[in-house]
């Protein structure tokens, strides 16, 4: 077996990626697991997890995080679905390019956008708080909701809606009984793409509430910044589980809409 044969095989082309995956995805995950279950002395312990469940502050931050993530996801869905629907409807939008206008803000770094939003609020004299936090989150994550729903709606065979109408459904029934259920994969995908990063974000809350509202991501960052590696890892571990569970729930829809192409 010479080197040329090894390089020639298509499967060996994936080697660099496998190495990358191992070093920067698998290894950190393993490290998080390991650190979460040892104490500073390196001995196995469940103390880090126990500490979280005994820590009223951390628990309430956790609850607030989930609440804000749910609120953000709901607002994104309520705003994003109609936008996606209008964009996907050939009657209102003949070009496939208009969607880019809605994706365009994502070409600017999220941190810069968030800082600018904060400055804007300051200039307008609006007090930073939960309202501004949600505004910033919706602003940041709305495109992630619009795009997958838009994709599903745009590729939907128009004869489904026509068939429903033909069978006697007025436009509102066509939407409720056919269009909406058929666009579910897009909704699930959008919800995942908005919910998961909002649970773990900390920069937005830092800038847009001046740290008045702490999110789960914020405590993880604080703990790790102050070298509380083990507790920080345990908190990260808990977040991973939450994200894992939500992915399982949306797994099927996610799969289907992934086929339809990702973000620009």
């Amino acid at each position: 077996m010479n080197l040329r044969n090894v390089i020639g095989r298509r499967s060996s082309w994936s080697l660099p990626y496998a190495v990358f995956l191992l070093l920067f995805v698998a290894l950190p995950l393993v490290l998080i697991m390991v650190y979460a279950f040892i104490d500073e002395g390196g001995r196995f312990t469940l103390g880090n997890l126990a500490r979280f469940f005994g820590d009223a502050d951390a628990l309430s931050t956790f609850a607030v995080s989930i609440e804000i993530a749910i609120e953000n996801t709901a607002i994104c869905l309520l705003l994003g679905y109609p936008v996606a629907w209008i964009l996907a409807n050939k009657r209102y939008n003949r070009s496939g390019v208009t969607i880019i206008i809605f994706i365009l803000p994502m070409w600017i770094n999220a941190l810069m956008r968030t800082l600018a939003t904060a400055d804007l609020f300051n200039m307008l004299g609006i007090t930073l708080g939960k309202g501004t936090l949600l505004f910033g989150m919706v602003y940041d994550y709305l495109p992630f909701m619009i795009y997958p729903i838009y994709n599903v709606l745009r590729r939907m065979d128009p004869s489904y809606a026509e068939a429903a109408q033909d069978l006697g459904a007025k436009p509102s029934r066509v939407f409720a009984n056919v269009t909406l259920p058929l666009s579910l994969p897009g909704i699930v995908s959008g919800v995942m793409m908005v919910f998961m990063p909002t649970v773990s974000t900390f920069a937005i809350s830092e800038f847009l509430t001046n740290n008045k509202i702490k999110l789960f991501g914020t405590i993880i960052q604080e703990n790790i910044n102050s070298s509380m590696w083990n507790y920080g890892a345990a908190l990260s571990f808990i977040m991973l589980i939450i994200i894992g569970i939500s992915t399982l729930f949306g797994g099927r829809g996610e799969e289907e809409s992934q086929v339809q192409g990702g973000l620009i």
Partner: protein, 465 residues
């Protein structure tokens, strides 16, 4: 209801998609309980006509009446019609039962009634026991049946079918044709069926509507359409045919292929140019004998399953297609006979190109949206509207569109036994007709040239403008 027994009446429908006219003055009446097929090649406007009846498109001009009431602006869900879609459009998130019950649930039919009716139609389409199946798990033929069941369960007055069998294989299509025909008899409702398959149209229908380029060509029973086509398009599209340029010499006497034949047509006048159609199975072929009306040599003979398809060349340069149960070897000398009743004579739609134009200057005329050179015209000034006649065989086509004065694409090819008759659509949408010995392909982009001396230019009457 205005007229007894009429369920659908289309009056002078026109429809534009952008600057393309897809329907041009389409009128049609459909009787209650009739099986009507709209037949034509793709892009002829048949599906648009169906979609206008269903309400998915609105006509730009003309009126749609269903059951006597004007339906132009009535939404699809308020029309007493149901559609079977080309690719079925079964709802993938619902099972077979819920797909079929969809319309009944919307109408608020009681649960027990829904169950009885769904079961009844499932039985009718031969899909009992499939009610809880996922529609994705069904074969194409089964999906087709569910689509039909979903439409007829609502007991519509009219069932619209948009090429419903086109996705099925040949054998399955044959079976479904028979079932559709039985279903039509059993239900007693009106079927409006759209297809590009002429055999399907002839098999299924009470009435066939042949369309081309947005225009209704002929409406009639399958036998009328086959035996008495009104023009070359219908003759060529329905079945195989030999089409000739001919001359009606007198009543019951027509000449084509350089011979005189007896026929049964009257009232054309004397020495009138006509098109003549003879079906391949209507030409009697035999080994060379003096009793034949004309003679020729077999150039090929192909077995087609039931019959042989024989190509015969005559000494005058005509090529005929003949179908016979007996084989005739290539190279064999043969004689042919055509019975008077098998000769179908049709009035010619046109005997020369007549184009509307405008003088650009003394030696140039605008035709088909392009500037053509012409002979110096006395008494005509720039801007004068003119009528230009060009004979079919005087139009030259070029392979490279840049070699032509004007550009066009070939939209229809008709073989006329010794030459091709082409319809070429110029850039401005006008048609020019060309007789040629060269072989061209459908949809070819060609250049169009006309020699100045081949144009007959006359001033158009002011009233015409």
């Amino acid at each position: 209801m205005s007229k007894e027994g009429i369920i659908i009446s289309l009056e002078h429908l026109s429809k534009w998609f952008g600057d393309k006219r897809v329907l041009d003055d389409v009128s049609l009446t459909i009787k209650k309980g009739e099986f009507v097929t709209i037949l034509g090649p793709s892009g002829c406007g048949k599906t648009t006509t169906l979609r206008i009846i269903a309400g998915f498109e609105t006509p730009d001009d003309g009126n749609v009446y269903i059951g006597g009431s004007l339906m132009n602006r009535v939404q699809p869900h308020k029309r007493p019609v149901n559609t079977v879609f080309q690719r079925y459009a079964l709802f993938p998130h619902l099972n077979v039962f819920d797909n079929i019950a969809f319309g009944l649930k919307l109408k608020g039919v009681s649960r027990s009634e829904i169950e009885t009716r769904v079961m009844r139609v499932l039985k009718m389409v031969g899909m009992t026991d499939y009610e809880w199946r996922n529609v994705d798990s069904l074969s194409g033929g089964q999906q087709q049946r569910v689509a039909i069941a979903r439409a007829i369960v609502n007991q519509p007055e009219v069932l619209l079918l948009d090429e419903p069998l086109s996705a099925l294989d040949h054998k399955m299509r044959k079976d479904m044709q028979i079932e559709l025909k039985q279903m039509h008899k059993q239900l007693g409702i009106t079927f409006v069926y759209v297809t590009h398959d002429q055999e399907e149209a002839l098999t299924l229908s009470d009435t066939v509507v042949v369309m081309n380029e947005g225009v209704v060509q002929q409406i009639g029973s399958p036998t009328d359409i086959y035996n008495e086509p009104v023009n070359c398009f219908v003759a060529d599209f329905i079945g195989e045919s030999n089409i000739f340029n001919g001359t009606m010499i007198a009543d019951r006497k027509v000449s084509f292929m350089g011979h005189e034949f007896e026929c049964v047509d009257e009232g054309f006048g004397e020495n009138v140019p006509v098109d003549v159609v003879v079906r391949p199975e209507d030409i009697y072929i035999m080994a060379r004998t003096d009793r034949g009306q004309f003679h020729g040599v077999v150039s090929s003979c192909i077995f087609k399953g039931v019959h042989y398809e024989i190509i015969v060349n005559t000494p005058d340069g005509y090529e005929l297609m003949i179908q016979d149960y007996n084989p005739f070897e290539a190279g064999m000398e043969v004689s042919m006979i055509i019975k008077p009743s098998d000769i179908q004579v049709m009035r010619k739609e046109r005997i020369t190109n007549t184009l509307e134009g405008e003088m650009i200057d003394q030696t140039h005329v605008e035709l088909l949206g392009c500037g053509f050179e012409c002979l110096p015209q006395e008494g005509l000034a720039a801007g004068n509207k003119v009528r230009v006649e060009v004979d079919f065989d005087k139009v030259e086509l070029t392979d490279d569109k840049r070699d032509g004065t004007c550009e066009g694409d070939i939209t229809f090819i008709l073989y006329k036994a010794d030459h091709w008759h082409l319809t070429v659509r110029a850039e401005n949408g006008e048609n020019i007709y060309v007789d040629t010995q060269d072989v061209w392909e459908d949809r070819d982009i060609v250049g169009i040239n006309i020699r100045p001396e081949d144009m007959r230019i006359t001033r158009a009457e002011e009233s015409a403008a």
